[in-house]
Amino acid sequence: MTSARAVSLVAKREFVTKVRTKSFLVGTAVIIAVLAGYVVLQSVLFDDQRHSVVGLSGQATQLADPLREKAKSFGIEVETRDVTTMDNAEQQVRDGSLDALVTGAPPALKMIVKGSGDEVLTTTLNDVLRQQVLVAQLAEAGITPQQVAQNLANVSVAVTALEPVDPQRGQRLAIGLIVAALLYYSLLVYGTMVAQGVVEEKSSRVVEILLATVRPWQLLLGKVIGLGAVGLLQLLVISTVGLVLSSAFDVIDVSALGGTALLIGVLWYLLGFFLYATVFAAAASLVSRQEELQSVLTPISMTIIVAFVAGINLMIGSPNGPTVTVLSLLPPFAPILMPGRMALGVAPAWQVVLAIVLALAAIAAITWLGGKVYANAVLRTGARVKLREALRT
């Protein structure tokens, strides 16, 4: 039997067995549901922010048109309603069907809001009010208000940006964070799965039969490929659903950013998984029972968690700061941080290439070392095997 056949047999078993489990199906469904909920929530929140309903009473009703126009120039949408009875109107503000109620006659306007009120709306209203007063006074002084308005419109400061702000920065940051979070989840979950698989074979002794027919490295590689493929499948399903939902709800400009992010995510998932899976497998081969697994996995999980938690904070604060730049180049952290920075669009090409080269080198070294530990320890049942012993032989 060829090595390729042996590896593919093992990989096929891992893939088929795992994909058929309830936990995989339910897990994927839950993640998709959470993602969908998030996207819907986002779009609702956006809509809510952009849309305010303002009740106008008495003389204030004449402000309806200028208010709507002014608001539009600020990027929000204001719907105005004429209000006749005050008691009822206050009640509407209270229950939220009106965002604000404006009463009184200019220039002595009053605005009633439920809580703190919308700042943009207040500013807009102030501007409208001032303009009204200005127009009135200009007219009194015998100057044509339209002329003044035109002159004003032509005056503005010429701005030269030294570091132009990316208009898509918000979206990029969101995508970067999502990519980092998905990779964090996949590495942790599927790495742990590899470890559990190794211990299952060890504790059930099936590994004895397997190793009478295939070599340790074939078994290990098959397992890593099989489970890696399951993780990749889940990642693709989640991402695709996420992208479709986002574009349907108009949260993210899919065509430009989403596709690239997906490619970056897949690339780094593969690098990260091959880097971590072997470490997980080697660590798991040291113990014989599932109960002992946690103790050997903790250092590995901690590395991934630190990469994620610290990395996310640094990335939001200063994605190009020296700490996050260095961390994103180092193989243990790169699979989570570099794709995040790449999605943000702040990683120069040379850094990306360097991180990939370092990751590949680390994979080669780790696979050799981890394979050795695995081969030496996987048949030794009973007490936990010391790492030094597993490396010696």
Partner: protein, 302 residues
């Protein structure tokens, strides 16, 4: 060229300071059922694991057909490990097909062979159950099926009879016998010595990591002391005979142990000389007694 012979040749293995095997040697011939007996920790499992290449020996060699066993020949061995060696959450059918494929069968061959063995071992109703849902006896049947599905050229079974009910023991014995008569060397370890005595063509007794006695049960009996059961009024006459010892006395019936070379006919004459003899027979030691003898002797000399 020793055709169809599995040779274990001078294998030694240490675990750190502990010597697990010391120059272990024996062979299992084509068509032979070989019983491998020994106390717990004597080195049976270690020997079998080394034969399967699951463990590496410090020195010595395992040969099949005169050639050192490598991964390709190893796939032709059927192995039943001491403890359960199956995926607990995998279905019987899927599991056996997977193992058959790993042993080099094509998917079609694997399915055909698995269905055949599932039927023969009475697992038809259980074929789509997860292994962990099966009774221990049925799990052992699946384990046996796992050792047999790829139609192996050699069978190495570690404690195949442990935990089996009498019916399952019969099924297992029948299958092993049949495999042996088809020309496959079969070696299995067991603590059920009466079963080994009844079933095996040859037996090897292991003690403290080396083979201390190999042969048919009759060969193991010959040589050394033999025992006689004599029923006669007195036993005083035995005192005059050299190399005869009374080891058990029960009324007029006694068990005598004869040193090597002592003629039983001279004992009979001596007995008849003093009175009537109502019973005179050779006591054939069971394998259990032989085993006890060998192991305690070894322990004393060690």
């Amino acid at each position: 060229m020793p055709e169809g012979v599995l040779e274990i040749d001078g294998i030694s293995k240490r675990y750190g300071e502990v010597v697990a095997l010391r120059d272990m040697s024996f062979d299992v011939r084509a068509g032979e059922l070989f019983g491998f007996v020994g106390s717990n920790g004597a080195g049976k499992t270690t020997t079998m694991r080394i034969a399967l290449g699951v463990l590496a020996a410090d020195s010595g060699e395992v040969r099949w057909n005169g050639r050192a066993v490598d991964l390709d020949t190893r796939r032709r061995i059927g192995y039943l490990p001491e403890e359960r060696g199956l995926y607990p959450r995998m279905k019987v059918l899927d599991q056996l097909v997977y193992l058959a494929e790993l042993h080099g069968m094509s998917t079609n061959e694997a399915h055909k062979s698995v269905e055949n063995w599932i039927a023969r071992l009475g697992l038809r109703d259980r074929r789509t159950d997860e292994v962990q849902r099966l009774s221990l006896g049925n799990q052992q049947r699946v384990q046996l099926a796992a050792a047999l599905v790829h139609e192996p050229d050699v069978l190495v079974l570690d404690e195949p009879f442990s935990g089996l009910d009498p019916v399952a023991v019969d099924v297992m014995s029948h299958v092993l016998r049949e495999k042996a008569s088809s020309g496959v060397p079969v070696v299995f370890s067991s603590h059920q010595l009466d079963l080994v005595e009844r079933l095996c063509d040859r037996v090897g007794i292991v003690s403290a990591g080396s083979m201390v006695a190999v042969g048919t049960v009759d060969e193991l009996r010959s040589g050394g002391e033999s025992r006689l059961v004599v029923e006669s009024p007195t036993t005083e006459w035995t005192a005059t005979l050299d190399g005869v010892r009374v080891i058990e006395k029960n009324g007029t019936r006694c068990v005598l142990e004869l040193a090597e070379g002592v003629d039983d006919q001279s004992v009979l004459h001596a007995a008849l000389a003093v009175g009537p003899v109502h019973e005179f027979s050779r006591q054939r030691p069971s394998l259990t007694e032989l085993f006890r003898n060998v192991v305690t002797t070894e322990a004393r000399s060690a």
